[in-house]
Symmetry: C2
Subunit: 145 residues, 2 copies
């Protein structure tokens, strides 16, 4: 994702980290495909580009990317953590327990809720990436009432 290249190099630079070939490949792997990508899949993509990159390097790079705000992490309940490039607008994910499908939703519905929680409890929710489980329309129909 060439259009990110400038930005992320600057960001690493600004936070006192180095720009390396492996970090570049790992960030590319996060961007390839859509939405979340579980770590295992990111690792697989990276290995396709370079066999010699180690898992620990992938873990370290992802942790760094999250730390400097280039990437968001999400626990999809699948055992392994998923990652996604950080987008300007926060959004959330719906994961269907029936078919395993995922869909992305904007932050409108949640923003209202977050506001109400702040008003009522004085608590500022900072979860920029919510993963909500349930049943999608298709699976609901299939399941019946």
């Amino acid at each position: 994702m060439t259009h990110h290249r400038m930005r992320w190099e600057e960001r690493l630079w600004a936070t006192g980290h180095r720009v390396t070939r492996q970090r570049s490949l790992i960030l590319d792997a996060v961007c390839a495909g859509e939405g979340h990508t579980p770590l295992g899949e990111i690792y697989a993509r990276v290995r396709r580009a370079d066999r010699s990159i180690d898992r620990s390097t992938v873990y370290r790079a992802l942790r760094l990317f999250v730390e400097v705000g280039l990437v968001v992490a999400a626990d999809t309940g699948s055992g392994e953590t998923s990652y996604e490039i950080k987008k300007p607008r926060p959004h959330h994910h719906l994961v269907c327990r029936g078919c395993g499908g995922e869909q992305e939703i904007g932050d409108d519905a949640t923003a209202a809720m977050f506001d109400e929680v702040r008003r009522r409890h004085g608590f500022e929710i900072a979860t920029d990436h919510l993963v909500l489980f349930g049943l999608c329309e298709a699976c609901r129909c299939r399941a019946g009432p």
Copy 2:
């Protein structure tokens, strides 16, 4: 929690499982204290009552309790899963990233949001126990804008 005893024994019974001394102690340990309890703490409480109970028994019992709807599990992001006795009204938790404090909130705010998601995306959220991270009032003031 004597008032639960009848109910949970019946529930296990009804689902074809057995009532054992260890399960009783483990459920007591879930109920002792307030709100969530991480597995490690549950295990510690159980061991205080009976040194011979194994971790695997605790894991198996908790999985069963969740399965039959006596207990809810929550991932608090601490690495280990937390558990709480299932209450009649669903509720959610706010976890402060500043001080680590937790507070419980009702499901009013989220219910509205869940409705909206159903209306707009046809998706029925089934998360009965949300853990939301952010900053509590005290920590927000301390942190400034």
